[in-house]
Amino acid sequence: MFLAWNEMKSAKLRFLLIIGVLTLMTYLVFLLSGLANGLAEMNREAVDQWKADAIVLTDESDMNLSQSSMTLHDAQRISAEHKAEIAQILAVARKSGTKIKESVAVTGIHKDQFLMPKVSEGRSFRGDHEVIADDSLKADGLKLGDRLTISSSEQKLVIVGFTKKAKFNAAPVLYTTIATVQKIKYGKADTSDIGLINGVVIRDPHFTKIKVPSRLKLTTIEPFIEHMPGYTPQKISLDFMIYFLFVIVSVTIGIFLYVLTIQKVSIFGVMKAQGISSLFLIRSVIAQTFLLALFGVCAGFILTAVTGAFLPSAVPIQLDIPALIGYGAIFIFVAALGSLFSVQTIVKIDPVQAIGG
């Protein structure tokens, strides 16, 4: 640490430039992780709000909620205590009399079951055609009392309340009655045994014991989210970029330190002649990498925080502090790995060359 720190103090510009490169790389990693996080959130925040453990869908639907269709009779035969029926149709809602259009997930629920969201503004729906909307729609110019026309349907909806964090597969959710969804889908409501809904959400940690009728399939929530269209490819792409950046960081700092080490071969030789061990020199190179990476990560963190504070809400970046700290730690670790390139060089330095001739 002593050698590392004093060298950095005496060659400030050189080391500031290296720290600068590391800062930009951390910044990129942090923003990408924020983006991955934000995009994932857009897909799953409504489902996360349900605090559910499992969902029952038809086997045919391949875990896709809007493709699943079951009768209310089947739904009632599911042997779970905490269950909530759900009906959903993906549609485009238009604010009546304007050109404001938005893809939405009209989601039918029972008011007295646990899917009922917390109303942050306005009131809950009292009957059909009334909806509680995701409050991200406010940014698109929608407000309480607005009437909505639903594409390919005669039905009209009215916003009576807003709730927070209700996006399903990136579409804002409109919570309403099951009958309203049935009307949009089939033209009329049918709450008898043969009426259709999309699925049943289960809140029960011991869901494995639950029996479901044939043709229906119980799925835990996480795979259900991962099967949302686009969710997994998106996540894999961003995660891959982040992992690859770690490799780049390791190689980059490895090269930097290797070049610095090569420049110091003769002075390391002199130190070795004086009896300073290779281990001491290796430790000092690793300590130097650690310091460089630590400064880089801290600066990158500050830069990310500042960016996060100024980003418009339309950018789906969600900075998750514990995750960033985790990435920062990995970053420092892979940087230290990079410094191992230099170990071999240091070990091989022959102290005899310190005495020329």
Partner: protein
């Protein structure tokens, strides 16, 4: 017990008719309190002799004992520890770590070894060498002579029993050179060290107890200090 004892040591590079003999079979010993000069032109094997004496490399044949420890039988790690504890090197050039201030050069030695000079002894050493005001400076800000004196202070700082000096007066003016040699002689006598310096400066030999010449890898003792055979 001799501080340094070299027995039947020789060093050759290569083999067959490309073989180069850097050091012919050599007997050599340095006792406590001896200041020894080894004089020879460049390419004569001075440096090879010095590196073998200091345990930096092993001779091809023969053995080297420093304070009774046979360094030729030790691995690099143990030899490195012996160098740290027993040997003080004063090297010609780039002896100092360029990114450490003079004061930190000494602190580095404190980091790797215990039992160095205490503050008072160090202050006295720096004063003797006339570098007490340079402690905040970096090697790049020092003149050649100042660097050399810092290097000497650094070698003495660890309190070694064997001091090996490679042209210690090369970049010093005559007055300063004599002072430095007198100081090395005094240090050697007072603290019972053995000092071997490799030089081509004949004037310095009057302070030495023994003078050797080295020609084409052959080391021979010059019994009389003041008459050096060509």
């Amino acid at each position: 017990m001799s501080i340094l004892n070299i027995q039947n040591a020789s060093k050759t590079y290569g083999s067959g008719h490309t073989q180069v003999i850097a050091l012919k079979t050599t007997q050599f010993s340095a006792e406590k309190g001896e200041l020894i000069a080894v004089i020879g032109p460049s390419g004569s094997g001075k440096s090879t002799f010095l590196t073998i004496a200091g345990g930096l490399q092993n001779p091809t044949k023969g053995s080297v004992l420093i304070n009774g420890q046979e360094v030729t039988k030790l691995g690099e790690r143990k030899r490195s520890m012996i160098r740290l504890k027993e040997v003080g090197f004063i090297l010609q050039a780039s002896n100092l770590v360029p990114y450490l201030s003079v004061d930190n050069q000494f602190r580095l030695l404190d980091k790797v070894k215990k039992g160095n000079l205490n503050q008072q002894e160090k202050a006295q050493l720096l004063k003797q060498l006339g570098i007490e005001n340079l402690t905040k400076k970096y090697p790049a800000d020092l003149s050649g002579g100042e660097k050399q004196r810092v290097a000497i202070a650094k070698a003495l700082y660890t309190n070694p029993s064997l001091i090996l000096a490679d042209e210690p007066t090369a970049s010093l003016d005559s007055n300063r050179a004599f002072e430095v040699i007198k100081m090395l002689a005094q240090e050697t006598k007072e603290k019972n060290k053995a000092t071997i310096m490799v030089t081509h400066d004949n004037r310095l030999t009057k302070y030495c107890d023994k003078v050797y010449t080295i020609v084409d890898g052959g080391l021979s003792l010059v019994s009389d200090n003041l008459q050096i055979r060509p």
